[in-house]
Structures are given as structure tokens and as C-alpha cells.
């Protein structure tokens, strides 16, 4: 199963009005890949992720998921999204539910699992992210880092084939970044296919096996972390990285 293409993006473009955010993106994700997408703000990283999840409708181009065009897949966008997990910068936990309910509702309502089975699965992943003690808390009662760990557990409980992370640590206080990154590190070690938009260069370098540098809506460079960080091929990549390292 390894090295099988799980996501394939062909000639993807996205415009908001006259502003073209993504320009003819070609991009594939193989099973087990941990891909980091880096780049300055406004370079189209998040939009790419949101197009892959169909939260944004691409203007043109096509996306294949396990060989099927996602726009013509059985069950429509909802069924597709159930297979592709997403973790947001702003957590987006359901405020009207407890931590446990957050991780159960998708399984019972979307995957039609039984309540008991769903709760067992939820507990498994909540334990994995270290949030098992907090299952009775509401999202407003826990910290940002804890929210994000619950959000990861919620996504994992759906048993996704690929998990997308949209700047998962950007809204966190510095001391909470570590706990989220360490959970993500564990997931990468477990062999989960991950696509991570991030500003955490250390994470991109140490955890991912592939780094994509985006600039002005195009993929500027796409290489292994060793190559990209120690020997960037293009001037712009070098410039971006040096700006980042100075901070």
C-alpha cells in the first residue's frame, strides 16, 4: 500500500474575484507522506488545503482522491470530507458539546456507528492526545493547546485516510505549541498521511519527509526537508528561509 498516491491535484486554480490565489497547482500526496507546506502569508497555502477539503470550490482543475475525481464521487462533498480530516487554526470545536461529544457526534451521525463503539473510539484517541481526563469539559473551559488536541482527536476518530492541518499552532500561546506538535509528531511516527501548513520550521525539518515551498500561488520548490533546508535550489526559497531563521 505504501507509495500509493492518495491525493492528486491537477492544474488547480482558485480565484477570489479578480485575485488569483492559486495558479495551476500540480501536486500529489502518497500514502504515509508527511508533507509540510511552508511559505509567507498570502502565498496560497491555506487556500490549497481548503480546496483539497472542498471548503473552497476550485475555479478550475481537478482533484483525485484514491483515483476518483472528488467532485463526482458517490455521496458528494460530505462523504469525501469524512475521509479527509481537517484540523483548523481556530480549532472549531463544537461549543455546544463536551469534549467527548465533540469526538462522538461525527462517528454516530456521519459514520452511523453505535454510541458505545463511537465512545470507545473517541476515548482511544482522546487518551492518545492526553485529553482523556477532560471529556466532561466544554470547549470554553479548556486552553487553546488542549482545544487543538481535542480537535485532532475528533479528526482521528473519523478514521481519515489523510489528515490536513491548517496552521494548527498559529493561534496558540508559545508555551502550548509544544504539546500540539508533540501529538503531531506521534501521529507522523504512526504512519498517518498528513498534509501540514505550518510556520514551524523545526517541525517541517524534523518530522516531515517532504517540504513544499509556496510563493504567490505556485509551488516554488518541492523537496525532502534535508535538501530544502540545507540546499535550497531557488533564490526565493533561500530568502524566505533566511528571513525565518533570523527571527
Amino acid at each position: 500500500m505504501l507509495n500509493k498516491e492518495i491525493l492528486q491535484v491537477n492544474h488547480l486554480s482558485k480565484s477570489f474575484g479578480t485575485h488569483q490565489v492559486l495558479k495551476d497547482i500540480d501536486f500529489t500526496v502518497k500514502k504515509g507522506d508527511v508533507t509540510s507546506i511552508i511559505g509567507a502569508s498570502g502565498s496560497g497555502k491555506s487556500t490549497l488545503l481548503r480546496c483539497i477539503n472542498l471548503l473552497e470550490t476550485p475555479t478550475s482543475g481537478e482533484i483525485f482522491f484514491q483515483g476518483e475525481d472528488i467532485r463526482h464521487r458517490k455521496g458528494g462533498a460530505s462523504a469525501y470530507r469524512a475521509k479527509v480530516g481537517m484540523v483548523f487554526q481556530s480549532f472549531n470545536l463544537f461549543n455546544n458539546m463536551t469534549v467527548l461529544e465533540n469526538c462522538v457526534v461525527g462517528q454516530t451521525k456521519v459514520l452511523k456507528k453505535g454510541k458505545k463503539e463511537a465512545e470507545e473510539t473517541a476515548m482511544k484517541f482522546l487518551t492518545k492526545v492526553g485529553m482523556a481526563p477532560y471529556i466532561n469539559a466544554k470547549p470554553r473551559q479548556i486552553s487553546g493547546g488542549q482545544k487543538q488536541r481535542v480537535a485532532i482527536a475528533r479528526a482521528l476518530a473519523m478514521n481519515p485516510d489523510v489528515l490536513l492541518f491548517d496552521e494548527p499552532t498559529s493561534a496558540l500561546d508559545p508555551e502550548m505549541v509544544g504539546e500540539v506538535l508533540s501529538v503531531m509528531r506521534d501521529l507522523a511516527a504512526d504512519g498517518l498521511t498528513m498534509l501540514v501548513v505550518t510556520h514551524e520550521m523545526a517541525f517541517a525539518r524534523d518530522v516531515s519527509n517532504r517540504v513544499v515551498f509556496m510563493r504567490d500561488g505556485v509551488i516554488w520548490e518541492d523537496a525532502s526537508p534535508e535538501e530544502l533546508f540545507s540546499n535550497p535550489q531557488r533564490e526565493e526559497t533561500k530568502e524566505f528561509l533566511s528571513r525565518f531563521m533570523e527571527r
Binding site: T57, S78, F91, N95, N96, V105
Partner: protein
């Protein structure tokens, strides 16, 4: 003062004679207000959901046309029933049905027509409230729900509407209180609610003002009770501000197992023997210090005499 006593005795007379009628009126008013507010909320929620079904340019022409048509229809409904007096709506519907069916169809049950009129009137207001409530929920909630594969209906039912409901609960309370009062216009089609009772009592007794005073007190009691109950429901919905840890986490576990380094030593405050011995120790130390100070003073005074004859500190 005389007048007040007069009013009091008149009210007592009226109440003792007609209290069954008044209580019936109150019961009818409350039942109508509760049922119509509930149905009105339901109408409002349905309209709110229908109005917020999203569509994009890539959707089929038929779907887009259908959704636009729904929005227009809801819009018309809201504007018509929000923009005309309920008393007129009651008359319009009550007499409209037999008019259009040449008396083949008539409202024979006052409850049916009253509930119908008040419900659709409330629904028109609630449709707007619900729409506002849905808009006020963070768009991230919708994205979170979509991201785990929920469709529009599931997203609404499990995530958005529970939060919207909490947000618009004060509005629902408003509508409920307005309905308690405004169902009084249903007397126009012969529904015997609380205000209709007043008219009946006055017709028999000719005591206009005392009966009106009873009505005032009655309505105010109902509305005060309603707002009290609504506040209570709001509080209930917000839930407890604390939560229980399902199991102790690693750090709180340490709380009970930690030993203070002074435990069992004379410095352990929980050890009475230790405290006593510590006190004895402390007293002895103070006595020693006092002794040393006395000695020091003597030495100092002794030296002082040698150094300066104007030293006034000596005893």
C-alpha cells in the same frame, strides 16, 4: 384613600362572583400563548433553515432557482405578517376561508383559528430572529462540522441550531410575553381569553374599572412569572461553569502523594508534640537572646561612659 378601599372591596366582590370566569380566561390565554409560541418557533426555525441553505454558482440551475424561490417566499411571508396588525390578520383569516369557499369551509373551533393566527404571526417574527441567530454563530462551527463530513441538515441540527437557540432564547421569551398580552386581540373573533372575560364580566356587572384592575394584575402576574421561568431556563441551558475531571491527570495525582520535607520533624505543624517542642525551643532561644542583649547593653553602657560624657542613652 376612600377610593382605594372602595376599589379593593369592588375587586373582591367581582372576584368572588366571577373568579371561575377569570381563571378560565387566564388558562385559555396561557394555553394559547404557549402553544402558539411553540408552533411559531417551529415555523421560525424551519424558515431560518430554509433561508440559509447555501448554494454556489456550480449548483444546477434548478437547485439555485428552487432555493431562491424559497427565500423569496419566506421574505414575503415575513413582511406580510410582520407588517399587518394581528387583530386584522385574525379577522382576515377567520372570514377569508368561508368567503373563498362560499361558506363550504368555516372555522368551527375557535382554538384552531386562534392558534393558527398567533402561530403564523409569531413565526414571522421568529423567522428573522432565527436567521439572525444562525448568522451569529461563528462560521468556524460550520466548517468544523463540514470537515467531519456532516451535510447541511446535520450541521444545522446538531451544531448550529442548538447554539442559535441559546442565542435567541431572550427573543423567544420576548415573543412569549408579547403573545400573553397580544392574544387579547383574539376577542375580536370570539375567543374567550382573559380580556374577553373582562368584557363579559363588565357586561354583567357594569364595574369597568375594578375589573380592569383585576386584568392588569392578572396580566402582570403572568408576564412576570414568564420572565422568571425564562431566566431559569437560560441558566439551565448555560450549564455548570465547572466540570469534573473524568480521571485524575498525572499532575493532580501528585497532590495527595507529596510529602512535606518537615513531616514528622519538630517543624511539622500537624504534629502537636513537635509544635510544643518547637515552642519550647523558640522560648529558650528568645530567652538566650534577651540575656545576650542585656549583656551587650551593659558592655555598651560601660564603653559609652569611657567615650563620651554627654551620652544620654545610658540608664
Amino acid at each position: 384613600m376612600d377610593k382605594l378601599t372602595q376599589l379593593g372591596s369592588d375587586m373582591v366582590t367581582l372576584w368572588s362572583k366571577y373568579h371561575d370566569m377569570y381563571l378560565d380566561g387566564i388558562a385559555n390565554t396561557l394555553i394559547l400563548a404557549v402553544v402558539a409560541t411553540a408552533i411559531g418557533c417551529l415555523i421560525g426555525f424551519v424558515c431560518g433553515i430554509l433561508q440559509t441553505i447555501p448554494y454556489t454558482k456550480s449548483d444546477s440551475v434548478f437547485k439555485r432557482f428552487f432555493l431562491k424561490l424559497i427565500r423569496v417566499l419566506v421574505r414575503v411571508y415575513v413582511e406580510v405578517f410582520r407588517g399587518t396588525p394581528m387583530i386584522l390578520q385574525a379577522v382576515f383569516i377567520f372570514f377569508g376561508l368561508p368567503y373563498f369557499t362560499d361558506n363550504a369551509l368555516q372555522f368551527t373551533n375557535m382554538w384552531t383559528v386562534s392558534i393558527l393566527v398567533v402561530s403564523i404571526n409569531t413565526g414571522a417574527y421568529m423567522a428573522e430572529s432565527v436567521r439572525g441567530g444562525i448568522i451569529s454563530v461563528d462560521p468556524g462551527q460550520t466548517e468544523g462540522a463540514k470537515a467531519i463530513g456532516m451535510n447541511h441538515f446535520q450541521t444545522m441540527l446538531y451544531v448550529i441550531l442548538p447554539q442559535a437557540l441559546r442565542n435567541i432564547l431572550p427573543q423567544i421569551g420576548n415573543n412569549f410575553i408579547i403573545n400573553i398580552k397580544d392574544t387579547s386581540v383574539m376577542f375580536i373573533i370570539g375567543f374567550t381569553e382573559f380580556f374577553a372575560t373582562h368584557k363579559a364580566v363588565v357586561g354583567a356587572s357594569y364595574r369597568y374599572f375594578p375589573s380592569a384592575a383585576i386584568e392588569m394584575i392578572g396580566y402582570l402576574t403572568m408576564t412576570l412569572l414568564a420572565s422568571f421561568i425564562l431566566r431559569y431556563i437560560e441558566k439551565k441551558m448555560d450549564g455548570s461553569s465547572s466540570y469534573d475531571l473524568a480521571q485524575a491527570d498525572a499532575l493532580t495525582m501528585a497532590g495527595g502523594t507529596y510529602n512535606h520535607p518537615n513531616r514528622g520533624t519538630p517543624f511539622d505543624e500537624r504534629n502537636p508534640e513537635g509544635v510544643k517542642s518547637m515552642l519550647r525551643e523558640e522560648l529558650r532561644r528568645q530567652a538566650e537572646m534577651e540575656e545576650a542583649r542585656q549583656k551587650g547593653r551593659q558592655v555598651e553602657a560601660h564603653q559609652g561612659r569611657h567615650q563620651s560624657t554627654t551620652d544620654s542613652r545610658g540608664e
